[in-house]
Structure formats: structure tokens, C-alpha cells
């Protein structure tokens, strides 16, 4: 169960820094995993993962608790249970798909997923030996999604997962999220557009 409470930060949700991307409403969705989950107020994907982002200004002084223990006290376990799909994929353009995902897998030795299956699911099997730099933006985004699937962790943090994806890709993402949540996983997503997903969600709007 993940609970987040805002700290004595800016109360109206406005970030003190300027937002380079589109201003306006951002919708945050989350689907609960096993047991009741509550995500209060200003929870944004990047902020929870604990890394730098303009959104973090909103919850900089907030606190995140996992099973009632603050995250700072169990950072390693927390990181072991999550995967972060950020806007900048963190994949290396000079390396091939397989080389990139091999690296990710060796950091999480316990993954049980079959890579071939995942490639099939995401439609990138034929791109395996290609260098990432030569792939289109949409294809690179699919590789990032593959990375997320392969990590085999319960908690997904997704920042604008629909960027660069066509309609098929977007449907695929929603399918993956639904699958994940129905098997007991949890997903925290920050997205610009309205997303219809067939799982119980908590929505937070930030203006």
C-alpha cells in the first residue's frame, strides 16, 4: 500500500519554477494494488520516484510512506520494487536493443520474464539487433516499455507514457497497465490527456 501526504509545501499546486512543457491541467491516475491504497493530493510520478523533475517542486517537502514506513528509511527496497519510465528514456543510443535491455536485466537479477515474449508483445522483435539511435521515437518508447515489463516489479511510475506513440501504441500501454494492475501491481501515471482504464483509479488534477 502506498500512501503519500503533502508536506508544508506550496498549497495551491503551482510550481514555483516555470514549466517548459504545456501548462494547464495534468491528470494523475493511479490504480491500487493489493489492499486499499490511497494517494492523496499532489502525487506525481517523478516526485515519488524521488528523482529530479520540475514536478517534484510540488511535493518537495511531502512525504511518501510505503507500508507506513517513510521511504527514506527503506530506499533500497523501495527502488527494488519500482521501475520508472521517465520522459528521457535513459537508454543508450549507441547500444543495440538487446545490449540495453541486458544491462537493465543484470541490475535486477531476479526478473522472471521471458525477454522474447516481451519483445513479441511490444512488437519490437525484429528490431533486436538494431542500434537504438536508428529507431524512431515511437519504437524507442516501446523499448522503454519493454524495459519496464522485463523488470518484473510491482510498482510502475510512468511519466507521460503516451508520448511519441500512435493510437495502437497508446492502446498497448493501457492494456499493459490493466494487465499489471489486475495481477496485483500498482501504477502511478502522469499524463496530459484523459485516459480510460478499466481498473479502479484515483485521479488527482493539478492545475
Amino acid at each position: 500500500m502506498v500512501r503519500a501526504s503533502p508536506g508544508p509545501g506550496p498549497g495551491n499546486g503551482k510550481s514555483s519554477r516555470s514549466e517548459p512543457e504545456a501548462s494547464g491541467e495534468r491528470a494523475v491516475r493511479a490504480s491500487p494494488g493489493p489492499g486499499p491504497a490511497r494517494l492523496d493530493e499532489r502525487v506525481v510520478a517523478d516526485g515519488l520516484a524521488g528523482s529530479r523533475s520540475q514536478a517534484q517542486a510540488l511535493i518537495r517537502t511531502g512525504r511518501v510512506l510505503v507500508d507506513d514506513v517513510p521511504v527514506e528509511k527503506q530506499r533500497q527496497t523501495f527502488h527494488g520494487d519500482l521501475v520508472w519510465l521517465a520522459h528521457r528514456t535513459g537508454l543508450k543510443g549507441d547500444l543495440t536493443l538487446v545490449e540495453n535491455l541486458e544491462f537493465e536485466r543484470s541490475l535486477r537479477a531476479h526478473s522472471n520474464r521471458d525477454p522474447e515474449e516481451v519483445y513479441e508483445r511490444l512488437g519490437i522483435s525484429r528490431l533486436k539487433k538494431l542500434v537504438l539511435r536508428s529507431l524512431s521515437a515511437g519504437q524507442q518508447r516501446r523499448v522503454a516499455l519493454a524495459r519496464m515489463l522485463l523488470s518484473d516489479v510491482p510498482l510502475w511510475f510512468m511519466d507521460e507514457p503516451f508520448t511519441n506513440l500512435d493510437r495502437e501504441g497508446r492502446a498497448l500501454v493501457m492494456e499493459l497497465v490493466e494487465d499489471h494492475c489486475s495481477k496485483g501491481g500498482m501504477c502511478v501515471m502522469a499524463a496530459h490527456q484523459d485516459v480510460d482504464i478499466d481498473v479502479p483509479t484515483t485521479r488527482v488534477k493539478i492545475q
Binding site: S51, R52, W84, T89, L91, K92, E99, L107, R108
Partner: protein
Amino acid sequence: MPGIFYGLAATAKRDLLLAWKRPGDVLNPLFFFAMVCTLFPLAVGPSAEQLEFSGPGVLWVAALLATLLSLNSLFLTDYEDGSLDQLLVSPQPLPVLVLGKVLAHWLTSGLPLVFVSPILAITYRMPLSVVGVMMLTLGLGTISLSLLGSIGAALTVGLHRGTALLSLLILPLAMPIMILGANAVSLASTNDVYSTGIWALGAYAIASLSLAPYATAAALRISNE
């Protein structure tokens, strides 16, 4: 392999793979090293005694500057493409991942310097026995340089004009290493006892190995929070 070193091996392997695909990044500092060694005789004259006398010092200064050049890009590409952020949320302890990166950095900058230095040393009329000492000091010294330099690189990653600042931060850290290394070689060239310098360099390397990764990890978290 014990669990904790998964991260070290994985990051080292990835960086080595990346260096393999862009050999220019490895060769550039080496050419720089050679060029600096060329500048000195051109500037102060090629007299034999001068060369022999200043050889150890010149070679060490050139090696230091070349390492400084290569340290610049230690975290730069990772910062730009988002992999640094991913390293920060990895389940592996950050000091271990840092050590992996520094290992790869040393293998692609320090170690090549060690093997290229004899060529330049001979042009400075260094006798072969002394060349051996030179390679030893460079080998030990570049280990410490890579480790300490990673602290500076972590503090300045993503900063505007970070390159100049990096040099300013690292040079005071690098000075003792250079003093020890260059003077050990000078002592060797006059057939004096030089073991103090070697032991000190070794101690420096071990101390850096145990402490620098933590400082670098702390600096990375601070720079990227």
C-alpha cells in the same frame, strides 16, 4: 558472482561497450597527452640534459591534464540521456555503480596512458629502467586520479561552464598524486631510493578506492535531487 557486484560489473561493461563503439573518445586524451609532451621541447628548447631532467615532470603533468580532459565526460552523457536518473533509482547501491563507471573510465583512459607513456618517455631520453618506474607510478596514480576526479565530475555535472570548474576543483586534489609520482620517477632516474613514493601512491590508491565512491555517490544525489 555475489549480488553486490552485479551492479559494478554491469555498469563497467556498459561503459566499456560504449567506449568500444566510439573509439575517438578514448583516443582523444591520448593524442592530447602526446601533444603536451611535444609542446615542452618546442617551448623551452630540446637540449638533452634539460629533457632528461624534466622528463618525469613533463610526462606527469601531461598525464594529469589528459586525465582531466577525459574526466569531463564521465557523467555527462548519462546526465543528458537520463541514465543518470535511472542509476539514482536503481536497487543497486549507488557507490557500487559509481565504482563500475570509474573502473571503465580508468580502463579507457588511465591504462592506455600507462602503455603510451613509454613511447614519449623514450623521446625524453629516459633509460628503460626508469621507464618501468614511470609506468608503475602512472598506473597507481591514474587509479587515484580517476576516483578523486569522479567526485569533482559528480559535483559539476550539468552545471553551466562545468568544465572549467571541474579543473579548478580537481587540480588541488590531484597535486599530491602528481608530486608523489613525478618525484618518485626523478629519484629513480638519479638512482636514489624511490620506494617511499611508490608506497605512498599505493596507499593513496587504496584510500581513494575505499572512500571516493561514497563521496561521489553523495555528490551525485546532491547534484540531481
